[in-house]
């Protein structure tokens, strides 16, 4: 007997539209709407299907009460699988689905599956190892999405690890976050286990999800370099001595710009590198080794380009979240574009 508990909002549970968004948690001992489609798709197994319905607003405004009611339903029904959604691009629904699935998986240690569009804000609430099936932005992708829910349940029932991970790779959203998890095995044991699995040709998976870089178009210089203003940018953490703005030396969340308009050279003792990712002593001896101002001034005087921008930009690119670094990069790029910069030299350690 396979027991499935499915969370739906008031709309998909057929209770009503926005006027019923304040509807409290309702346990129904049968499948409803999309749940009935999934139940039918997995009917070769003996399935007991139940539904939890809840208003989109109620979940967020009365989250504690909602969780309490859902906890009672789970404790009573004892599901083997917890499903929520799919929520497509619906924000409140997506947040509820992601939070609930993460909460259920953490507390009851059963597989939890939801589905949403990659733009859904619920993505930010997704916990580690959750299955988040990628959907289109609207319910137009419902039939295909429900097939995927059913397929994943089948694979989970079969306990075929490879098929499950293949499904995750093909149909689930990659979650660009790191999570703190508790484990009984120390890191050095897990690291050696991973290595042994790799050497023995067994399946293994890094604990840190691989984040695929987004490919952006490569810009080319539009005019002549002779007419261009060029800016210097670095992730090497170089700041004025004393680090007045408190740039972090790792896990950076900020960037700054510092004036160099009246300088021809960055002198020892006036700047220092804040960066735990490299030995900064050589750069501290001569900061031009990371922000090559002296060379740029000579080439500017030789009229290789028109002007060196009067500020350099800096962040610390070590130990940080790629998503945060992308934000920082976009912030620097916006400022550069707004200052009429034509080209950039970026130094990285």
């Amino acid at each position: 007997m396979i027991k499935v508990l499915h969370y739906l909002n008031q709309f998909f549970a057929g209770i009503g539209g926005e006027d019923k968004a304040g509807h409290e948690v309702l346990f129904l001992p049968h499948a409803v709407g999309v749940g009935a489609v999934i139940e039918s798709a997995i009917k070769v197994h003996a399935v007991e299907y139940a539904t939890i319905a809840c208003g989109d607003n109620y979940f967020h405004e009365e989250e504690e009460k909602a969780l309490q009611a859902i906890r009672a339903s789970i404790d009573q029904f004892q599901p083997d699988f917890f499903l929520a959604g799919p929520a497509f691009n619906a924000g409140r629904y997506g947040l509820a689905c992601a939070k609930l699935c993460s909460w259920v998986q953490d507390n009851w240690r059963i597989p939890a599956i939801t589905g949403m569009h990659e733009g859904n804000p619920g993505i930010r609430e997704v916990g580690r190892r959750l299955f988040v099936i990628q959907t289109g932005a609207s319910a137009a992708s419902m039939p295909e999405t429900l097939k995927r829910f059913s397929l994943l349940i089948e694979r989970l029932i079969s306990r075929d690890k490879k098929a499950i991970e293949d499904f995750r790779a093909e149909h689930c959203l990659p979650i660009p976050r790191r999570f703190t998890v508790k484990t009984d095995t120390p890191d050095y044991v897990r690291a050696v286990d991973l290595l042994l699995a790799k050497l023995n040709g067994q399946p293994y998976e890094s604990e840190i999800p691989r984040i695929e870089a987004q490919q952006d178009p490569i810009p080319n210089l539009t005019g002549r370099l002779k007419d261009a203003t060029v800016a210097l940018v670095t992730e090497g953490g170089l700041v004025p001595k004393g680090n007045p703005d408190r740039l972090e030396s790792s896990r950076g969340t900020k960037y700054f710009k510092y004036a160099i308009g009246d300088r021809d050279d960055l002198k020892r003792g006036e700047f220092q590198a804040m960066h735990t990712g490299y030995d900064t002593s050589t750069v501290d001896e001569d900061p031009d080794r990371i922000v090559p101002l002296d060379a740029m001034r000579l080439l500017e005087k030789a009229e290789r380009f028109k002007k060196l921008h009067d500020h350099y930009f800096v962040t610390t690119g070590t130990g940080a979240m790629p998503s945060k670094m992308a934000e920082i990069g976009a912030g620097i790029a916006d400022e550069l574009a707004g200052s009429g910069i034509n080209a950039v030299i970026l130094t990285a350690t």
């Binding site: 210089l221 090497g236 001569d286 080439l299 130094t347 350690t349």
Partner: protein, 64 residues
Amino acid sequence: MVLITCLANVASQVGIGRIMAGNKFHYPVGQPELPPAEELRWRVALIEKALVSLETAVEEPKIF
């Protein structure tokens, strides 16, 4: 934009257009073994190479 880094292969994998190999991981545009005047000459030559890369149109990651 040109990126001066010692991890050129990583830069290429993430799709950076213009990539130049820096000298060392912890001083990409430095050469501390040289006397100061020579180090500056070396750095000017390196940055000149970076400027040439900026003048070069690229469509996919290219290591200069």
